[in-house]
Point group: C2
Chain length 283, copies 2
């Protein structure tokens, strides 16, 4: 909510704690068919995109999450050529995926055209790859798109908002089955996990179990982002092949030159959990 | 500040962003010779200690930082027997140090008796080791204590508040020289670095350079703590011997059984920096 020159992110999913960012200027307030949208220029974090009251991206720190959810699967796959992004209307994932020269086609299925339009207008450093000739944008429901899909992908990135809202179905096991069905042999999925280890470990454990019902290899990774709840966000990285090592780059992979967060050490470190979380999730 | 049932942590050191915790009951408000003190029971983070308006510890997440600033140096040292804690009046570091059975003497020098008293009253799970027979508490200025010190320590933990306040001198090079002089051969210092990579990288770089003027080995480590600014805190770990490997446990070390955050993987991962920070700090 906006009050006294600040945006404050209160939410039932993280009762009793809230982050506030100081507002320099409100740039857009509206309601799409799917969600409430707020865009403001902050005093210290650049432009900020808020959906249904939850911070999705700030210009200052967005690269951390965008890089990790893309480069973890793309670097663990020896040679990804066909990539699908589900969600990701701000364009940040597309910007990262096109950095991989070996990727030949990138499809994106985003439910809300307004998010794409607003990102082009207010987050131009994120929404900079929509015109890349390898990119095809579908404005559609991600679940339905996959239910009707005949293509196979090497990497699928599920860059959704949290489950409370239009992305609810994208945290269900039936969706994970659709993702698995759409993967080529050796394929890898990376999905926003919504929870982090400091909030609801039981929900995180349950999400991991639903993933394990579908994928033989499931690993949870963390990325530090100051403007996400508790300062971090989790991602489930899942492989169709039980032999795939998700926790390191594949052999002879070349790291894109213009990364700001990702490196080989961070790739490995992102899968390391503190003891209390490791014990709880894996028991 | 307290308003509308919430504590809000606004501070000039992190302009434009602030964390709020919901207050169940204010337990103590006062002013010592050295600082403003607030203790409240929060709705979701247990009891919370605030000094000069800055969150020092919450019962829910304090163990992450307390464990890391203690076990990183204690596990990297092959056989620490004499330990000094500078600051640390809440008792959290003492609780962690006494877990190492090989440690024979633990001295602590804390400037503010009131913090110790309040911790015993409101943070009993932190202030649980003051009565341990290996522990000696000195209520004194840490800088002056070290200037007059004749003892040698294997590990020194500088668990201070931020430099804006009574701990200002404890971020200066002259203090680092006193720390070095007080270390036995092979000794290790761990100090709260105040900054994290998402705030003022220039101050972090400058701190590291001051440390490098004194110590041959200086490594920066990060711990994730939801209620610290940006969700993380940094620590400078410094060794007197250039051969000391700070980034892993020493050979044949036994990890204390009752840790909740620390493990060998986290030890190594805590020193891994994202690319933008690594480039800036090390160039």
């Amino acid at each position: 909510m906006l009050e006294n020159g600040w945006f404050r992110e209160e939410n039932e999913s993280w009762n009793g704690q809230s982050l506030s960012l100081q507002v320099d200027k409100v740039l857009y307030v509206g309601k799409t068919m799917f969600q409430d949208v707020l865009v403001f220029r902050s005093t210290n974090y650049g432009n900020v995109l808020v959906l249904d009251g939850v911070i999705q991206a700030t210009e200052r720190d967005e690269f951390a999450y965008q890089e990790m959810i893309c480069h973890l699967p793309l670097m663990s796959h020896p040679n990804p050529k066909r990539v699908l992004v589900v969600g990701g209307g701000d364009g940040g994932c597309l910007r990262e995926v096109v950095k991989h020269a070996g990727v030949e086609t990138i499809e994106m299925v985003e439910i809300d055209q307004t998010v794409v339009d607003l990102a082009k207008r207010f987050l131009p450093n994120m929404a900079c790859a929509f015109d890349n000739p390898r990119v095809t944008l579908h404005i559609a429901d991600g679940f339905e798109f996959l239910a009707n899909n005949q293509s196979k992908y090497d990497v699928i990135i599920s860059d959704t908002s949290d489950p409370e809202g239009p992305a609810e179905k994208l945290f269900e096991e039936s969706y994970f089955q659709l993702l698995s069905d759409a993967l080529a042999p050796g394929g890898i999925v990376a999905m926003q996990a919504s929870e982090n280890v400091w909030l609801k470990l039981d929900i995180l454990k349950s999400l991991q179990e639903r993933c394990k019902n579908v994928f033989p290899t499931v690993n949870y990774a963390t990325v530090c982002v100051p403007t996400y709840t508790s300062g971090q966000l989790g991602m489930m990285i899942c492989a169709k092949d039980p032999q795939t090592n998700l926790q390191a780059p594949a052999a002879k992979k070349h790291i894109p030159e213009d990364v700001r967060y990702y490196n080989e050490g961070i790739h490995r470190a992102s899968f390391v959990l503190p003891t209390f979380a490791k014990k709880y999730i894996n028991n």
